[in-house]
Amino acid sequence: MSGTRLRALSVATVVTLITGYALAAFVAPMDADQGFIQKIFYLHVPMAIVALCGFIFAGLCAIAHLRTDDAKWDLRAYVAIHISIILGVGVLLTGAIWAKASWGHYWVWDEPTLVSFLIIFLLYATYTPLRFSIEDRDKQARYASVFAITAGAFVPLNFLAVRAATSLVHPRTLSSADNLPGAMRTAFLVCLLGMTLLYVLLWQYEIAHKTTVAQLRALKRRLAGDEGLRPRRSAAPELQVR
């Protein structure tokens, strides 16, 4: 993405996020059951939705990679999973805080969203060690793509299973994004949009960075030969730049 568009995206992200959270703080009414704690909902649920969509998007990029054998798609999948994992950490932490505030415990098994997220996080946390332990670049990229596709297919199944398994004793407050009254719904949607823009923005930044580093390495190789390069083993996909 070019510099000007990246800048425009950054501005749009900041504006949307600030608007969203201002709406959540000042315009959206106080929730009847949970009171002020419910405001966490405007942060936690968009993060969760965007992280999950990110994982599925990574699976789609991985399919494109296996079909076209173009390293660009592998890079996109890698970065998508990377950022989704960071958001996943945020989901788990904010979820724990919410759980402590609502029910007095930092972890509750009754929230299917949180439990599903823990499982998904445990799975995707193996992505980078898996990449790191395969030395051949092509094989690494291919196996990582197989993993990303399998894990992407796993995400909806996991949600289904955990949701079905969780007892209905406690109402599912975190995941009930459906019956929201007007002002709450607007605030929520703006926050969701802002979080999506943030994800796209961070994704673009990381891809730009990695592409730049690949170009710099190629330049160095042309100027100084292979001795000029610092040897590196990394889990990140390596782009071949002419």
Binding site: L66, I119, L122, P129, V146, A153, A161, A164
Partner: protein, 235 residues
């Protein structure tokens, strides 16, 4: 004039040949099945001591059996591709003009067969050692049905993860790390199906919803594994 080359063998014939090879290897030098069986019995003993329970029933019994079978299965998955990788079996297979997913099917069937033998040993052991309610016909039937679905899940996912891990340097570590979260929906379903089966008052009906979920899981991952396995075998 030279004769036309013989047509390549059908996939079914290939799968059959590979499966026979796997079973014959295991029969000749039994390694995997005795290890899994012994491990499962040791695990049952560990459960007795760590739960401090003489007998278990209901949800607890379902959990004990599910965990025991799962962890013993992981042992089997770890060994599934080792012989091929070390002895060069992959290369030989790749040179043959056959459909590569035949290896997936054959390995999954072999792993499934090993799991069935494991369960023939572990489930009676579990019933004698730890299970509170006596073994009835309904209970047995329901257990068989549940474990059949679970075995498909473990066989498919185990083969996929085993193939993924065999090329890495830390394969024994990677397999449980990836396989356990991936199998969780099937584990949840298995436990939910076994819990009413092992109820103290006698086996209750199987919840249909969980049969559907585990069945769906088997279908989705079966198709997925079939689609991606090719990419794991390219060199």
């Amino acid at each position: 004039m030279s004769a036309a080359p013989p047509p390549p063998p059908s996939t079914r014939a290939v799968v059959g040949a590979l499966l026979r090879k796997e079973l014959r290897l295991e029969l000749r030098t039994p390694q995997v099945i005795p290890a899994m069986a012994l491990f499962s019995i040791s695990t049952l003993v560990v459960f007795h001591f760590s739960l401090q329970a003489d007998t278990v029933e209901g949800a607890l019994a379902a959990g004990v059996l599910t965990v025991t079978l799962l962890f013993s299965a992981i042992l089997g998955v770890n060994r599934l591709f080792v012989a091929d990788h070390e002895e060069g079996g992959f290369d030989g297979f790749l040179l043959a003009p056959v459909d590569r997913t035949a290896m997936l099917v054959a390995k999954a069937l072999a792993l499934g067969a090993f799991l069935v033998v494991l369960e023939l040993i572990a489930v009676p052991a579990f019933a004698f050692m730890l299970l509170e309610p006596g073994l009835t016909g309904t209970m047995l039937g329901q257990t068989v049905a549940t474990l059949a679905l679970a075995d498909v899940a473990i066989a498919v996912v185990g083969t996929l993860v085993g193939a993924l891990a065999i090329q890495t340097r830390a394969r024994d570590l990677i397999v449980p790390l990836i396989a356990l979260p991936l199998l969780l929906p099937a584990i949840i379903g298995t436990a939910k199906l076994l819990a009413p089966t092992f109820a103290a008052a006698g086996a209750e009906a199987l919840p249909g919803r969980w049969l559907a979920i585990v069945g769906l899981y088997d279908l989705v991952f079966g198709l997925l594994a079939y689609a991606v396995f090719d990419f794991l075998l390219e060199d």
